[in-house]
């Protein structure tokens, strides 16, 4: 018989408030196998852990049950305690009497009874535990960064700085992302390009960084330390090694109908183009949808003018396989399309624009060369209305937008208002807002400057209707402070549209088995304590992919993710989880059902000579790769013969727990 010790934690009043911990400890003394049982205020504290270690030595315990909080919280803590005291760390079981008991019950008597049952179940399981030994796996010392915006660039630079190779995979023809489209950045009003493009150049020049642009990740296999990714590099029809970025072709290309994505499709571009002057790589790309040569076979003008001989219409997509130790998701965002919110009339009126469109209109490299002209008649607008929270902070049930705050809109709207008032003092600027949210260093000061110094008219209230009347846009809304309906005849209306994850995020999340929330933002492993890691080991989060963020926050998170990546890549070996599945070859039917349910591709089948009592024949049997298995247990419940079992959570252990609760 094993000697088991039970340690009941009060968790201050978290458990002791609704569970009579003393009674639990007392009751456990009578359970077969238990030779020692006690309780303590904070079992996870140094004193609590010492109490456990002392009891292990004194009573020669073979295993311990800690009745405390969720194993997600402190299972590792107590495994380490046990290991330090000479026990196998997998001879530790946690009875969760906090999240699954004290926190959800009010009646102390019932809570106590349930805590006893949960502790008994843990003892029943522990009686079947076997010591397990963790294995190790090697680490590929290269990092994949998905997305080449400021988040991806910053992570890549920091990881490369520590001496590790980094591949940035960017779906667009250039890195730079959303930040490259911005004119100025708050709260200091630096020119966005002036602070971003040097970083882009730095990334391009860093010999540890490999930029794979106009490409997407198609498939990811493997596990932490040992990922294998298939990357599709789309055909640019331009040889990257030859193109000098000269732009001579620009005026030759007869196709002029391509929409300039960089300028939010407010102007056209040729079929062959470089997204913007500072693009990295500074290499042209041919839009196959617009290119006359690719569509009809007749043209080839760009090839004729290209002195470098870089144009290759026959270029095909290229598939490359690369191995990585860590993957950083930096897929960024896009503004929502406000067309369905028809009260703002975005679809009908050219002069109702989004904030990102305004950025381009105010940028020197934009469609109006930086002069603020309204799109419909290219006249200077004299009265501008900004509307905040368009599609943000919506009641989820109305399905009219996002339930969350997009976080950056208050600040960039203050920026826009201020810049316009500064450059065009004859322009009246109104801002409709629900709240103005400015929690950031120097943020509130910035907003107050817009109001106090630049005289921007902030109106608390939302807009009910934007309608065209003549060459004016009539904006009707409510002013909640004066409790009046207001109507403003505006020349231009700017919508601070909500931001949402880039559309590629969902498929990347599925590919990586990285969990996402209902809005398709990536979920962090712990909202407070592990904010830059995905719950899936080896996957890290950078930038808006995880939730709305401004530039300084994005850069901070990008560097934090890099620190985590460096911490992983610095290791030569990783300890693997020994709680993995294994197949009893004598029982295995070879039916392949487990292989089909395994979400990690950890199971393969081999023809193998099976030997056992009265058996010696070649059979098709399942084999589990313990380095790939995540211990989810899907195979064990699928296996009809019970050949598949999960170490640490064997069928026998689970049945023993059920029996302890039910019998």
């Amino acid at each position: 018989m094993q000697k088991i010790g039970v340690f009941v934690c009060w968790c201050g009043s978290n458990i002791a408030g609704t569970v009579d911990v003393e009674a639990v400890a007392e009751a456990m003394k009578t359970v077969p196998g238990v030779v020692f049982s006690t309780h303590y205020q904070y079992m996870c504290s140094a004193a609590g852990q010492k109490l456990i270690a002392d009891a292990i030595h004194e009573h020669h315990l073979d295993g311990i049950v800690v009745a405390s909080c969720s194993p997600r919280m402190h299972e590792n803590t107590f495994r380490k305690t046990a290991e330090a005291a000479g026990l196998n760390p997998y001879m530790v079981e946690i009875a969760n009497i906090r999240e699954q008991c004290s926190w959800i019950h009010k009646d102390k008597e019932e809570g106590t009874a349930k805590a006893i049952v949960l502790a008994k179940a843990a003892v029943a399981k522990l009686l079947h535990n076997k010591p397990l030994t963790a294995g190790t796996s090697a680490v590929t010392k290269r990092c994949l960064v998905i997305g080449g915006g400021i988040a991806g660039i910053q992570t890549a630079l920091d990881v490369a700085d520590a001496g590790y190779e980094v591949d940035i995979v960017e779906q667009r023809p250039t890195i730079g992302g959303r930040m490259a489209q911005l004119d100025k950045t708050f709260p200091t009003l630096d020119c966005s390009a002036c602070i971003l493009t040097p970083k882009m150049v730095e990334a391009a020049q860093n010999e540890k960084i490999n930029i794979i642009s106009y490409a997407k990740v198609e498939k990811v296999d493997g596990f932490v330390g040992n990922f294998r990714a298939t990357i599709r590099k789309k055909a640019r029809c331009v040889d990257e090694t030859k193109c000098t970025g000269c732009s001579l072709y620009m005026n030759k290309c007869p196709s002029k109908k391509g929409k300039d994505e960089f300028n939010m499709e407010m102007n056209n571009r040729p079929a062959i183009y470089i997204p913007f002057a500072q693009a990295i790589p500074n290499v042209a790309v041919i839009d196959p949808e617009q290119c006359v040569k690719l569509k009809t076979g007749k043209c080839g003008l760009c090839q004729k003018v290209c002195t470098a001989g870089a144009i290759d219409y026959t270029q095909q997509d290229e598939l490359m396989e690369r191995e990585y130790g860590a993957i950083v998701v930096a897929t960024g965002f896009k503004p929502i399309d406000p067309s369905p919110l028809n009260e703002y009339g975005y679809a009908e009126n050219a002069d109702v624009i989004t904030s990102l469109e305004l950025e381009r209109l105010m940028n020197a490299a934009g469609p109006t060369k930086g002069t603020l002209l309204r799109p419909s008649d290219l006249k200077h607008p004299h009265e501008i209305v900004f509307i905040q929270c368009v599609g943000s902070r919506c009641d989820e049930n109305t399905k009219r937008g996002k339930p969350y705050c997009s976080k950056i809109c208050c600040m960039y709207t203050a920026k826009h208002a201020m810049l316009i008032r500064d450059k065009y003092p004859d322009t009246k600027v109104h801002v409709f807002y629900i709240d103005v949210r400015t929690p950031g260093k120097n943020f509130d000061e910035f907003y107050r400057r817009a109001v106090e110094q630049y005289g921007v008219d902030y109106i608390k209230g939302m807009v009910g209707k934007v309608a065209r009347e003549g060459d004016k846009l009539m904006v009707r809304g409510s002013d909640l402070i004066s409790n009046q309906q207001v109507e403003i005849a505006a020349d231009l209306v700017v919508l601070a549209t909500a931001i949402e994850p880039d559309p590629s995020a969902r498929s990347i999340g599925t590919m990586l088995t990285a969990s996402m929330d209902t809005n398709d933002f990536f979920t962090e492993a712990h909202a407070k304590l592990r904010p830059v890691e995905s719950p899936t080991a080896g996957i890290f989060l950078s930038g808006v992919a995880q939730g709305p963020k401004d530039v300084p926050e994005t850069v901070a998170q990008a560097s934090a993710a890099a620190a985590k990546v460096i911490g992983l890549l610095a290791k030569d070996h990783l300890v693997t989880n020994p709680c993995v599945a294994g197949s009893d070859e004598l029982l295995c039917n070879g039916c392949s059902q487990c292989e089909k349910v395994c979400p990690y591709g950890a199971i393969t089948y081999v023809d193998k000579e099976v030997r056992g009592p009265g058996v010696r024949e070649v059979r098709r049997v399942a084999q589990v790769n313990p380095a790939v298995c995540q211990g989810c247990g899907a195979c064990t419940v699928t296996c009809p013969s019970g050949a598949m079992d999960l170490k640490g959570f064997t069928n026998q252990q689970i049945m023993a727990e059920v029996d302890a609760i039910c019998l």
């Binding site: 004598l586 029982l587 295995c588 039917n589 070879g590 039916c591 392949s592 059902q593 089909k596 349910v597 979400p599 089948y605 098709r620 699928t638 009809p640 013969s641 019970g642 069928n651 026998q652 049945m655």
Partner: protein, 293 residues
């Protein structure tokens, strides 16, 4: 059917003679008029006893498990519904296709002493899911047995939980655990059944009530769920006449409703609805809601 049998017999003898196959899995007459039994024939002489006709109800697919391990090819005669069981076993890698020569046998519906077999009252198909050649007749291609396959299940679903419990308690209490259902079932092919495995822990537990003993059937139904072709052999062979097929059909009906129409053994997809995941799958909440009804 006599004509089909004669052609089949001649063909089988020819295939034995030219060495294509080493043996023939078919049927022979038993002691009574109705109890034709599966039988193995190894030469033309033995083939004299071969029969095919209205009482060849037994599904020969499961016999193939052992036959597939023998030297040479086996000729196996499969009726349309039997081919589903056979193909499902191929999907599960339990049979090797090249070890068998399959004659698809035209079928006009099978009988026993009480009349048409249960499975034939609601005939699933006249199509052969897998075969090397077909021996049939115009007659055998006509549809037979057009009863609603799920009618019995629908009746059970109409009952209250208590009525249903009483119904099954009544039925299953007759079980003598002869294991005939398990032995005949082409989906029950485990090398070692969990009920025979002392390590699984189910054997060593004394039942709390006599009914618990009969949970065997419910567990069995779950183990074959998604793989059961609804061949009806379990009910056919039950000496106690327990309508075991109703358990399987209930699970098939639920799966069809939750994950879309599916027939095990049909098509080339090895994944069953229960071993695949799609975004369109019913959410657990829906399953839970239905469970309460």
């Amino acid at each position: 059917m006599q004509e089909i049998m004669n052609r089949m017999k001649a063909r089988a003898i020819a295939l034995l003679a030219d060495g294509t196959v080493s043996r023939v899995m078919g049927w022979e007459k038993g002691e009574g008029e109705y109890d034709w039994s599966p039988a193995l024939f190894e030469n033309a002489e033995e083939m004299e006893a071969f029969v095919y006709g209205d009482y060849a109800g037994a599904n020969l697919s499961k016999y193939c498990l052992k036959l597939g391990k023998l030297e040479g090819k086996t000729l196996v005669i499969l009726k349309p519904c039997d081919t589903l069981s056979f193909k499902q076993l191929i999907h599960e890698h339990r049979l090797e296709r090249e070890k068998f020569y399959i004659i698809g046998a035209g079928c006009t519906g099978m009988k026993d002493e009480k009349g048409a077999l249960l499975k034939c009252n609601a005939c699933k198909s006249k199509e052969f899911a897998i075969y090397d050649e077909i021996i049939d007749s115009e007659e055998s291609r006509k549809p037979t047995g057009v009863m609603d396959r799920m009618a019995g299940v629908a009746d059970l679903e109409q009952m209250t939980a208590q009525e249903r419990y009483d119904f099954w308690q009544g039925e299953l209490s007759r079980c003598i655990r002869c294991n005939a259902c398990r032995n005949v079932c082409p989906a029950c092919t485990c090398i070692k059944c969990v009920f025979d495995n002392p390590a699984s822990g189910v054997q060593s537990k004394a039942p709390v009530t006599s009914f618990e003993e009969n949970m065997f059937h419910i567990i069995r139904a779950y183990h074959v769920a998604g793989r059961c072709t609804d061949c009806g052999e379990c009910s056919r062979v039950c000496p106690q006449n327990i309508p075991l097929h109703l358990l399987n059909r209930k699970l098939i009906k639920d799966m069809n409703e939750l994950y879309g129409e599916y027939q095990a053994g049909e098509g080339d997809e090895e994944r069953t609805p229960l071993t695949s995941y799609t975004k369109e799958d019913a959410e657990p909440g829906i399953v839970h809601e239905r469970g309460r009804a």
